[in-house]
Symmetry: C2
Subunit: 119 residues, 2 copies
């Protein structure tokens, strides 16, 4: 059964990989989309970047701000977003950090490669 | 700005639509993927169905079981799944109901139509 078939996981059992200093992701890869459960430690930031993939998300705990065109969009629990592909963004979190469900379509193959290469 | 552009929402402000008796969804539509935040009331079920869309999800609260080929996969908080397109499935929840982030790719245009038609 490959990564794109029926899967059930507990995210506690999913290996985490580092996205930025203090920011880790626990991914679940489908065929055409993926979940990345990201955890931001207090004080961590995701530097400005972009990717062609569409990204959606929902904040589960804490506060995550998405900064786009210099404007910070602060999102708390049960707030969601859609970020079209190609839009430069950075992120920071509140003093308690944040837990966020990120979704990418298509799959971030760079993430798949990095995650499968974890020891 | 169309549905597929930059969006920020609080799911409390998103209109809910009925998926089955006692099961509602609050959607966030991107261009190629969507979130559906579904809430199952205790005792509710989602009847057997299938769709060509790939579906992923993560349980936030309570228990949701996905039944595939007669086998029930019971998922609690922080458990996730990938369901390939075309796989028949039904669902039920635990005695406390469930709150689940469902993700579809591509977008369920039937959901988009129904949601936009809400009063």
């Amino acid at each position: 059964m490959g990564d794109d078939r029926l899967q059930f996981v507990h995210f506690d059992d999913v290996k985490a990989f580092e996205l930025a200093a203090g920011v880790t992701g626990r991914p679940l890869f489908g065929a055409g989309a993926m979940i990345n459960l990201i955890e931001l430690q207090p004080g961590s930031i995701v530097p400005l970047h972009s990717h062609p993939h569409e990204q959606l998300g929902i904040v589960l705990r804490g506060m995550q701000a998405l900064v786009i065109d210099g404007e910070a969009h602060e999102l708390g629990p049960m707030e969601g977003y859609v970020l079209p592909g190609g839009v430069e963004h950075s992120a920071y979190c509140g003093p308690e950090g944040a837990l966020v469900v990120d979704i990418f379509q298509p799959v971030r193959e760079d993430y798949r490669d990095r995650w499968h290469a974890l020891p």
